[in-house]
């Protein structure tokens, strides 16, 4: 087994914002009944992060749990911890109707950072990204131009975007074009 390889090998671009592919990130899709105590407890004990509310993302240390749909959350964690957490979760959910599956390699993770990060994403996503409309703690599934994407604020001036791995190059191209110098819009400043 060789080292995990992300889609773009950590490619980066510096425009009026910085765009960076994050490299390998561990990701598990969990599906189950959020009303089930077994499911909630399994998540809590195996992951150590509380279940997020609707459209929220909860971060504890280097692990985040993001609400994806009414019966699906995405666990984001260091790649090295993935196997152990998956095993723990699978065991804790034995007998429960639930699904735990590794999707780390199915996704590309990119960050957009800098004062204009909101504007870069607002060129691609039909989402209200004004500071009073979109803040930290929100997970928003949407599209970036022509492909599915999910975005959240991973820092004061940083967004993280996940998309499917096969379109990593396309998404990098989109973000690069949107962050190119001279493209500042100046509305969220």
């Amino acid at each position: 087994m060789s080292e995990p390889v992300s889609a773009l090998g950590g490619a980066a671009y510096q425009g009026f914002c910085k765009v960076q592919e994050a490299g390998p990130v561990g990701m598990l899709t969990l599906r189950g009944n959020f009303a089930s105590q077994v499911f909630v407890n399994a998540v809590k004990t195996s992951v150590g992060v509380a279940m997020p509310k609707v459209r929220a993302i909860v971060t504890e240390g280097d692990r985040s749990l993001a609400w994806m749909s009414p019966d699906e959350v995405l666990l984001i964690l260091p790649h090295a911890e993935l196997a152990a957490v998956r095993t723990r979760l699978t065991e804790a959910l034995a007998g429960e109707h639930a699904l735990v599956v590794d999707v780390s390699d199915a996704r590309a993770v990119l960050t957009v950072s800098g004062a204009g990060a909101r504007e870069v994403l607002a060129k691609l996503c039909p989402v209200d990204l004004a500071p009073d409309a979109f803040g930290p703690g929100e997970m928003r599934r949407t599209r970036a131009a022509q492909v599915a994407a999910a975005i959240w604020m991973s820092g004061e001036e940083e967004f993280t975007l996940i998309a499917f791995r096969s379109v990593a190059g396309y998404v990098m191209g989109l973000l690069t074009a949107a962050a190119a110098p001279g493209g500042e819009v100046g509305v969220f400043a």
Binding site: V54, W67, M68, S69, P70, P126, R141, T142, R143
Partner: protein
């Protein structure tokens, strides 16, 4: 052009996040059904000018299907509700009746 609030995630989704799915509350007729029932299930659609109940999927979003009541002529949206519903909710029917007194109602 179109904004529907997804009842599953609360997003006021615009048309580019949504995928249409045709008429809502169809009853499936499978093996053993009469020709008439099967024909109605496959091909007969209401297509009204006015109040209509439709299936939509928040495709570029939470991925869930939901149902919407809409006026096909004015594009007024009366409400959205979960797909796991066999008939339009009574409150929604009442709200539409209040706005459209001449509407014949949902049969």
């Amino acid at each position: 052009m179109l904004i529907l609030e997804c009842p599953c995630c609360g997003v006021r989704a615009e048309e580019s996040e949504l995928a249409p799915g045709g008429e809502a509350h169809l009853k499936r007729f499978g093996a053993g059904a009469s020709d008439e029932d099967f024909e109605a299930y496959m091909f007969a659609r209401k297509n009204p000018k006015g109040v209509h109940f439709e299936r939509w999927r928040h495709a570029h979003g939470c991925g869930k299907w939901f149902l919407a009541a809409r006026d096909t002529a004015t594009l007024e949206v009366f409400g959205t509700y979960p797909a796991q519903t066999k008939a339009p909710p009574a409150e929604l029917i009442a709200a539409i009746k209040a706005k459209r007194p001449h509407w014949e109602g949902y049969e």
